[in-house]
Symmetry: D2
Subunit: 340 residues, 4 copies
């Protein structure tokens, strides 16, 4: 932390700042500038947030953090990329480009099995599908709940594809974990810290989506919540942030890929379906994600989008998914990844 | 919903749209424009979100919603303002301007009792204080939990002030409700639908904060979640939205007051402490909120902000709170409100 | 500037940073932290932006600016508020609350004269009206240009009200200045530096609108452009920033008032018409602006909004303007301002 | 336009709306809904903005535009992609992937010639370099002006590379056009309509950058300004939009590529240097842009970034540029483009 004093602040104000820094367990170091003093606080980086309260002191202009507050998620702590093992065939974060695909919601046995068969044929290695759905409106379809989980398990049995599904409540998290291969934390729950702690205590890999107005730093702090409970198998997923633009449902922030790759060892996936909200834009954003260095993609595919209970407009039909996957191979190869 | 066809869309595409609208239970009505057709779908407004899936059909340019999807929260359903009764002396939504004040977190018995005595003296009618704290970092102070609730109850006993405190987990919601007078849903949980449903089932008034990147419409949908579970005592609270500006912690959206007053019968409060993140800006924003028609304010006051465990820089000292409250009376009067 | 080195950066990397700081004319000062070094650069604050290029050097984590880059606009240079004199009766920045009102565009002699008479009767001290219009579409009405300026001058002659009008091109700036009392720089030209320099060279007061995605710091840098050319008569005007919210045309950032009052001596006005885009929300935002400490308001008033060439939906009718102005007096009084 | 009436609006209110629609030259068409009426206005699409003023009428809930207001830029008018010819060897918008590269500012003869030689060697087909610089601070380097143009011309003579440079003022636009091969309109001038009209009248191709908070629709309206003056050679360039995220200088919106490709026939380029503000992130964003379908890239390359007068931290060194260009070929090939 850097404490910037006001121009012309009194000596007694500065002395009080120095005293408080020492009280909080840090060592102050003063730089005398031309018009003002600047004070560095030296010591353990993790607890430095408490120094922010010095901003209340008289004579202090502001307190500038210079370091990131996460540790377990940081590349400074672990330099080599983390590999998250989902099954014998699926490992995220290495050379393998992992594609998760399927419908937004599980709607019926036929729908989820048709979807699983179709996405497997197209080359997906993981099935996605929602059983507990966080919907903006209480009047929208809320998911099949445990019945949906059972149908996902049936689809897995039939196709061999592991599945990812969302967990929305600490009270039902263990139930979901007893079925699913990967637990998804959705964008709206990305700072639901009670839920993050809960999935940190369960043994399953977690796909953590970035919140709609979450900075990269906050994103890594949410990963840190899960990791600090003992679960290191965290996969980060960018899914579009909220901006002023309305031509797309969200603004897919692909620069998050190199930024995250610089700051963390955790694998990074992209969700171009929620990121754009429009099936026309999904394929180009898949190619771009892989070119930028993504470790995987999660894509909405529905056998009959115009009858979907949710997110129809952003779902690919299986035929379009197949064409996209064919072309994706070229980009994966250029990026040094393998799409098995 | 208005379904806009592409310029030059084929008749068979249009006919399929008409068929699907009828299948979904709505009556289509076509307007033939100069370059394209536009189709209205007539019927019950609440379920119209399903029509969005028609955007997947061939020949459809886009689907434009023209109506708000909330009902219980809407002024169309209930024209007169709702009054939320907290105690014999405190009613939110009428002529009384209600001020809630206190520290961000409960830290100790002395701290919360000093705070309660101070804010009561200054004119606050409700005490605020966090016992379960949603913190961005797992390494930051997480609150005193049930011990904090007990201290708040002790402060209430001593001063007669009812208190508001945050609930962050469905698993502990009943515990919190057994102590608190008002349950707060924080910004980060504003679309934690499991939690919204839970507090909708408990009998206590709910102070619902707007999420950091939540539209007014989504805000009212979250209120609708609580109300659709049977709890009509919802107080809306604007606390700043996330924008590009960094001079303030958030951007306090005061135009939300007249917008909400136009759309809903629920009372509207403002949190200028989180809204600005800087105690220097709190007083002017309190005056502005009341002038714009707010029903109440929730303000961070701490007897010793430079030693606060959280949010020190945005907390007022009691002496500054007193001065602000004195001047606030003038603006309350001009706005036709009474600050008892 | 604070240069933050990477954890474990080599000594030779640090030495190169020190060398470059000295080459650029600053004095380096190293703080040895627990995991990394942090280097302060001491010297004249205005030119420090050049130090940003050190971020390219090996071993540098990032470069953190700690000071504001404006000077003439800064309160550190001039502590007392600046008064901008428009006419014998109108001075902005002191006790007088100044209201500028009138239509978006000058459309005809009758329209502008009716408007001028109406807003004067309601209590406005300055007439507003656009002659050169910056319109998003080339097919929209572009203004009456010099004919519009002549009509504004005629309205001034008749009512005694000075007028403010927009300047959109360095090539026509002198022409506009030969008629107008105040030159307005619109939001879309707020970083049109060629235009800012031009109005800095003309003798007339400038009403500088904040850009749609302009930070407070950039806003003050644009004021600095005008002032550094010799024109100190700059009035800042917040008119709403662009955010994700669509319930209002823009998000009116009223916290800009106390933030600007803390950082600059220049007067601050608010435009609630563009800020909200809806005439229903204008009056509450006028009251809130004054309560927050604004020095003035600029409001769209049109005798016949539903026939307006531009911005009809956000224009008040004269009768509504009168009612608003009556009630505004109460808030002005509470704020210690006079509305003559 | 769709005019939505309030629930329970009076018949006389609706009749007045119908009358006004007819007066404005459109044909109204009423849909009677269950709780409210909705009115379509049929007629020429370009002038429909005037209907927005109906929102001021009593009984009107809101006015919903359903169509885009641009025409010349629209794919509905011209289906095949436009090719913009820069020289015998350089055509933008076809199979050729065009890379423009060079320093932010022209600083000296040696610097610009070294840069030109280096980027040509790396494979760039166009040289970039600023002579007139729009800088946020009046105290920053403002460019070498005409001397800079002469140096760019000298570099062109030496290397055969055509060059693009920024125009910032209608008064100097012709001067710039007398030297440059492509005129750049920067982000801060993207709604400087006087400048857009001016470059629309000059014969040179225009590289139009998207404004920092410009929607795709506004972007196309700015292109329409240039085209409506007679100049059809417009190249669109996404360069990052302003959001809440601070890990990158801007947020590069790569989904703008498929969105623009759907709506317009104009070529689309990407500026990853300004888009990210950090040279570490430039290469991955180059690959992603090409994978998403971009027609070209504009990249900052500087022989000595740590001594650059502007934008050092986001400039690539020539050696890094060469490596990037080598790898880019693989992605260009996968995307069906040729990088000559």
């Amino acid at each position: 932390m850097i404490i910037v004093m006001k121009a012309g602040a009194a000596k007694k104000d500065r002395d009080l700042v120095l005293k408080r820094i020492r009280e909080l367990g840090y060592k102050p170091h003063v730089i005398h500038g031309e018009t003002r003093d600047v004070i560095g606080a030296i010591g353990d980086e993790r607890g430095k947030a408490v120094l922010q309260s010095l901003e209340s002191l008289h004579g202090v202009e502001n307190v500038v953090p210079i370091l990131q507050p996460y540790k377990l998620a940081s590349k400074e702590v672990k330099k080599e990329p983390s590999l998250v093992r989902i099954s014998d065939n699926v490992v995220i974060g290495g050379r393998q480009l992992v594609v998760m695909a399927g419908p937004c919601s599980v709607e019926s046995e036929k729908q989820i099995i048709d979807s699983a068969v179709a996405v497997k044929k197209g080359g997906a290695q993981v099935l996605r599908g929602g059983a507990f759905k966080p919907r903006t409106s209480p009047y929208s379809f809320q998911g099949l709940e445990e019945d949906g989980l059972k149908l996902l398990a049936k689809a897995r049995e039939l196709t061999g594809l592991p599945f990812v599904t969302e967990v929305i409540n600490p009270e039902t998290a263990e139930l979901v974990a007893s079925y699913a291969d990967i637990l998804q934390i959705g964008a709206r729950n990305s700072q639901n810290f009670a839920l993050l702690k809960k999935v940190g205590q369960l043994g399953k890999p977690v796909l953590l989506k970035r919140g709609m107005s979450m900075t990269i730093q906050e994103f890594l702090m949410s990963a840190e919540y899960i990791m600090s409970e003992g679960n290191q198998s965290v996969i980060l997923c960018e899914r579009g942030i909220r901006t002023f633009e309305t031509a797309t449902r969200n603004t897919l922030d692909l620069s998050a890929i190199p930024v995250l790759k610089e700051k963390t060892h955790l694998p990074v996936m992209i969700d171009p379906s929620h990121g754009t909200g429009n099936h026309h834009y999904v394929a180009p954003m898949c190619y771009a994600s892989v070119a930028a260095g993504a470790d995987g993609l999660i894509i909405e595919v529905h056998p009959d989008p115009e009858h979907a209970s949710s997110d129809g407009p952003q779902s690919l039909k299986p035929a379009k998914f197949d064409i996209m996957m064919e072309k994706l191979k070229l980009f994966a190869e250029a990026a040094g990844k393998t799409l098995i």
